[in-house]
């Protein structure tokens, strides 16, 4: 039976009804990193803890990837089936800006400052038929914005 497997351990809580991105916070200087790391790149301290970064944020900058990247890109796509995807940094309530794929993929759909929602999505299928899951952000729908 096929399963849904995170692309890398420790990037987000999974499975979960409301997944969160995971990062680390330095107990000495309070700076936050994504992905979580044991060392602090701000103060060189070695005392960090894993923290939830949230599942909502605002878009800090963005672009659109229009051509299929070379290896190490590893999806199920072919040159023919490739579709452009957005890429951006999303400012998280946990105190760090996280680089991510964005589901809006046209310049009309993207703007600095727009509210974004975390999604855990299937990215490719492995040899055993398991879905490899990664994180991405989509625009917050109007009716969700006030939840």
């Amino acid at each position: 039976m096929s399963e849904q497997i995170p692309i890398h351990k420790g990037l987000f809580t999974w499975p979960s009804s409301r997944p969160q991105l995971l990062g680390s916070r330095c107990k000495q200087c309070g700076e936050t990193a994504f992905p979580a790391q044991v060392d602090c790149r701000s103060c060189s301290g070695r005392d960090t803890e894993v923290v939830e970064l949230g599942d909502r944020g605002t878009l800090w900058t963005w672009t659109i990837q229009t051509f299929m990247p070379k290896q190490p890109y590893h999806s199920d796509e072919t040159e023919a089936s490739f579709r452009p995807y957005g890429v951006g940094y999303v400012e998280m309530p946990g105190g760090v800006r996280v680089e991510a794929r964005l589901e809006p993929s046209t310049r009309e759909q993207l703007a600095i400052g727009m509210p974004m929602q975390l999604n855990i999505v299937p990215f490719r299928t492995d040899a055993s038929g398991n879905q490899i899951m990664t994180f991405s952000f989509s625009a917050v729908e109007e009716d969700q914005a006030w939840k």
Binding site: I7, T32, T61, T66, P69, Y73, E91, E99
Partner: protein, 380 residues
């Protein structure tokens, strides 16, 4: 004691299908030696590097096995700047009087494809399509345009100038000028950057002969002085390529630090510079680097470009040989091409692209992954 540049050599950038990258490096060294009136056996030391074309010290197989000290340098886009810094330090220390720095490369066509593990990152980052330099440069200028009121017009003008300057440069890869409309209507690659706003990986070689300045007049009547060579890495918080996350507080880029250090070493300021080379792997970075190197305030670039200030006849000529946009980027050679071009300008040998009024002070700047900058200041 000061350090002089007494010979310069270039193997033309672009595509040389019949030559290996190493051979292009050797050609550049021979050209620099001929320019200085010296031979390979006169060289006491060498520093060199390439990304994709082999170990620089293999050049001794082409140039001669003379037992000199040859150290390979690899530091991303700052490889040339780092080689030059090493040579500068070797002469300043008093250990050597005369040596060569060389950079060369030969990349396959298309965008670079760096591997996450080489940069201390996990595989998911590359597998999911986040590890492209083109994306980073697009996102940096996207935010910069938002913060500082730069428009797409400015991006077009940088490319227009680059290809105009390339058309005046016999060694440039791209020698056809492109119209404003050609650039503004070219395919969008990574919003807001279009096809003709990106440089391409390429081939080529560049070399410089360096000498203790006290002895330089034995070899040439027109030595140039390498007044400063500075290489710096990123601070916490600077917005860099290959970064899965970015701190909330945005710190100065490594370019700012390297630039300040170089000006301090040279004892001059940005207002004293007559001709400059600023890393332009895309048109957005040239705009950002104008301010990060201290040549204008953030946001002033829009008007400066509209006024033609950075053109060859302008008050702050930038990338007079067409820069990376018109020459392409053989990573190992690119930083030394910048120094070569500034030396050509300071000698008054620029021909159709010569900056008027006898420029006396030149400046070069590279920036590369994952956040390293090299700055050199050269004077007559």
């Amino acid at each position: 004691m000061e350090v002089a540049i007494i010979g310069i050599g270039l193997h033309r950038f672009g595509r040389s299908p019949d030559m290996s990258g190493l051979q292009q490096g050797a050609a550049a060294v021979r050209a620099a030696l001929a320019d200085a009136g010296l031979s390979w056996k006169d060289m006491q030391f060498a520093y060199g590097g390439s990304q994709d074309a082999g170990n620089a010290d293999s050049l001794v197989n082409e140039l001669g096995l003379t037992s000199l000290q040859f150290t390979n340098i690899w530091n991303g886009c700052a490889t040339g700047g780092s080689s030059l810094h090493a040579a500068y330090s070797a002469i300043k220390s008093g250990q050597y009087d005369l040596g060569v720095v060389v950079g060369f490369d030969k990349h396959p066509r298309g965008a670079f494809n760096p591997q996450p593990a080489d940069w201390g990152l996990d595989d998911w980052y590359g597998e999911t399509g986040l590890m492209l330099t083109t994306q980073f440069f697009a996102m940096k200028i996207q935010r910069y345009m938002h913060d500082h009121g730069i428009s797409e017009d400015a991006l077009v003008r940088v490319s227009e100038k680059a290809f105009a300057n390339g058309s005046l440069t016999p060694t440039a890869w791209r020698q056809q000028p492109l119209s404003y409309a050609d650039i503004a209507n070219s395919a969008m690659v990574s919003d807001p950057l279009r096809k003709y706003m990106f440089c391409s990986p390429a081939e080529g070689g560049a070399a410089l002969i360096l000498c203790n300045a006290d002895k330089a007049r034995q070899f040439t009547r027109k030595p140039l002085l390498l007044k400063a060579a500075a290489v710096r890495t990123r601070h916490y918080g600077s917005f860099e390529v290959f970064a899965p996350s970015q701190a909330m507080h945005v710190a100065d880029a490594p370019t700012v630090t390297a630039s300040r250090m170089a000006f301090e070493l040279a004892g001059i300021g940005p207002e004293d510079v007559d001709v400059m080379q600023l890393q332009d792997t895309d048109s957005g970075t040239e705009i950002i680097h104008m301010a990060e190197n201290g040549f204008c305030e953030h946001g002033e670039q829009e008007q400066l470009l509209r006024d033609g200030a950075t053109q060859i006849g302008g008050r702050m000529p930038v990338n007079t040989d067409g820069g990376c946009l018109a020459n392409g980027e053989p990573v190992g050679a690119s930083g030394l091409r910048q120094v070569y071009e500034v030396c050509v300008q300071l000698r008054g040998e620029g021909g159709a692209r010569q900056v008027p009024n006898d420029p006396a002070v030149g400046y070069t700047h590279v920036y590369g992954a994952p956040g390293v900058s090299g700055v050199n200041i050269i004077t007559r």
